[in-house]
Symmetry: C2
Subunit: 480 residues, 2 copies
């Protein structure tokens, strides 16, 4: 990214010298200052975002987090909260340079939430559970499932992504069309604000209108207002009966129209995913995915329904009715009859991230379009990218009813932002959002003002100053 | 309420003299200064909350709202935003006295949003629509229905309550268990903050993570941070097939357990409402409701399922299975076979507010309990009330899976808060929330600090100061 230095810099100070109280607060075992040990926390999994931390600190309680925040505030040391480190916009790893972010010192610590991994007993009547920030999505799903319930969010990084990170980024994923985003799962939160204040409401009933909803404000704030330490989340009924179909579609417009009609016909619709033959080819090549049809299709639509009884007959009926129309654009269809077959179809979509990663380090753009403009975007994005970066490859997939597309660009160097810019300009031209579910992080800071109205930005800055007056929380992220 | 003067006071100033620009901004027809015309805006529908406004101002656009806010800010005049005036905690009508709220002047205007009644075309693919703050819930429901979709919120005051007021109070109602509260319906907002800043994002796609989520922050802020002028809301599939049953239950515990089990068996469950024989008796007496059973029952549970096909067989099967257990506590059951019968059963629950109103001016408390403590609350609340107010009658009903009970106390004078206090103390003792869906308003200001942690209150005050630096928006409401 222009203006950022890509050579990791050595901190000006030794962590113990600058923050002598750290070991007392969290214990010597949980202050990781050795560069070799720190290294895994200083780079994201794409390898594209990296920096240097004074130390990695792993508090074991909300009180320890508050003490660490107060200590850092006293020294004007930045804090980069980190969960499962599955973010894609540089929001959870140290920045290459802090001075530009207006923080007094260049240094920051990484505050890892992995030890905050407590999981309360499931409140079965209310359908809620309290989870520590460090609990992984998979652990939460498993815990809910053991009580005969489920968690409404799911996505590919489930084994690593944590509750805290999912709140900070307002994670979305594949079930948003039925259950909403992470923000909509929250009924209570515990967090430490930038001034060291502990906010806490983990026992409230589901309906609770007693002032500003801090869980919703912290959701999507990307660690810039507070460090989430725990949350009370809603659970949903567990739906053990599923059916999955992949449809070969005549184009994106046909896929959008069919998904929207299917949603009205089947309230059991839980996912509607879009991908294309180039991405499918990578999944076939690298992950052993099986092509669902003998011929390549202009677009692929994967739909899943879930219910308490077998939903396959209803899906078959609905698809038959929808495919019947001349303009429906359904060219072919494959239905999964059992768990293995369902997983095989899902791999075609969920394997995209991994398969693309086998080809190199992609530029990952996560945008959302008005649903009616998805087709125009897909038609134009490849050309927009190659105009900016000749020879670059563009692989697109996403969540069709959310208007959310993941655009992966391969070819340009890590610090060549030309193709990224082309994708984001096209998004704005079509009335879309520059970040659907990954957040702004560092990657899109200079884009925020192009997407959001001046009044919105002024309000956000006022809130940031109110809750993190010294700007020590995730400096440089989101608001720059 | 102790400390508040109940005699409406005469403003110190004439509106035109203090705010000479008002008529220029909104037009002379929309500045209502005549006391007789103002009167309907100065008292809530229970008759319990009232005050005097300098004038009632009805802007016709967001720009006019912003101009009015800036004008009032310059004169330190308070602004009481008002939608359909169906609030129950004094948050939408002028206070008896402003001086106590720390505003320089005692006066405030009422800013009525009723002219902001535009409704955009339904975006059918995205399932969203933009609605002005003054659009009523019924109008929004009708508009969504015309496009083959529905709105996820419903409650008794649907013909008067407005989108703006529903956002300000984060309205709940009878479908929260399936679709969430008003906050969870919002994908974009337009509002004017206390410093006159216009925030606006009405065209964003459903998934949009570009900074702090201002719609969620404004939802439930009770007009103290900004005046909502429009919102983009999610719509849900329209479910035209419904079935309703009323069950006679052995007690609250049995009703809670059955509803929770039913929710897991039927994802189509849309409402689970609780009421008792005393409230039912009032609906029978005043509204012509028909008793569903020959004998009075210890508790009544109304459940509704909604689907794209007839859900009655599934409901019958599920209830038969659940009622079969010895401990199920199902004493009797009545099922509605057609629309008329469904409406007749719903009247028994939805008629409570009206029927109670025919008996006098009730003290209306809206609380939420952990679901597992609903039974203890219901057992104790009547005794707690009569201990504080001998001879008072307590009628309880509510939304069982939300833990949300509406407690109506009849007997005590309007300014006698003894019974109110007893209800709220009991709520806190049982780990509940002092406001489930009505908000804090004026009624519960002194209770907020008993319910919320000091850190939460500090964060809320910091946010209030950040977005309404002069404290002109709904002075005295929520944070006092």
């Amino acid at each position: 990214m222009p203006g950022l230095r890509w050579t990791p810099t050595t901190p000006d100070h030794d962590a113990m010298q600058l923050l002598p109280g750290l070991e007392r607060i969290v214990g010597a075992d949980h202050v990781l200052a050795d560069p070799a040990v720190r290294a895994g926390f200083e780079v994201d999994w794409t390898g594209r975002w990296r920096g240097v931390a004074l130390a990695v600190v792993r508090p074991g309680s909300v009180d320890e987090v508050a003490e660490v925040v107060r200590l850092c505030r006293g020294q004007r040391v930045g804090i980069v909260p980190q969960g499962g480190n599955t973010g894609l916009v540089g929001g959870g790893v140290p920045r290459p340079a802090y001075a530009a972010a207006g923080v007094a010192r260049r240094e920051a610590i990484v505050l890892s939430t992995t030890r905050l991994s407590g999981l309360g007993a499931v409140d079965e009547a209310a359908g809620e559970v309290v989870a520590g920030a460090g609990v992984t999505l998979a652990a939460l799903q498993h815990h809910a499932g053991s009580a005969g319930l489920a968690f409404g969010i799911d996505f590919g990084a489930r084994d690593s992504a944590t509750v805290g990170g999912m709140i900070a980024t307002n994670a979305g994923g594949i079930h948003v069309l039925r259950h909403g985003t992470m923000r909509e799962q929250l009924s209570g939160i515990e967090a430490v604000l930038g001034d060291g204040t502990i906010v806490r409401r983990l026992e409230a009933p589901r309906k609770d209108n007693t002032g500003y909803h801090l869980p919703s404000l912290l959701a999507g704030s990307e660690g810039t207002l507070g460090i989430v330490t725990a949350a009370r989340v809603h659970l949903v009924p567990r739906l053990d009966h599923r059916a999955v179909a992949v449809l070969g579609m005549a184009g994106v417009g046909a896929a959008v129209a069919l998904a929207a009609r299917l949603r009205r016909m089947l309230p059991t619709l839980e996912a509607a995913e879009l991908f294309f033959d180039d991405g499918l080819g990578l999944v076939v090549r690298h992950l052993g995915g099986l092509r669902p049809f003998s011929e390549p299709q202009p677009a692929y639509l994967l739909v899943e329904v879930a219910d308490v009884a077998d939903p396959e007959p209803a899906l078959v009926d609905a698809l038959a009715e929808l495919a019947d129309g001349e303009d429906a654009g359904v060219l072919d269809a494959a239905m999964a009859a059992d768990t293995t077959a369902r997983e095989r179809l899902w791999l075609l979509r969920e394997g995209h991230g991994d398969a693309i990663g086998r080809e190199g380090v992609p530029h990952k753009l996560d945008v959302a379009l008005p649903v009616g403009r998805l087709e125009a975007f897909v038609e134009r994005v490849g050309g927009a990218v190659t105009a900016a970066a000749p020879g670059a490859r563009t692989i697109v997939f996403g969540h069709v009813l959310d208007g959310n597309l993941h655009v992966n660009v391969m070819g340009p160097a890590a610090d060549d932002e030309g193709a990224d810019d082309a994708v984001l300009w096209l998004t704005l031209e079509l009335g879309g959002s520059i970040s659907a579910e990954h957040g702004i992080g560092i990657a899109k800071v200079r884009w925020l003002a192009r997407d959001r109205a001046p009044g919105d930005l002024a309000a956000m800055r006022a809130i940031k100053t109110a809750l993190d007056p010294d700007g020590i929380l995730n400096p440089g992220v989101l608001l720059g």
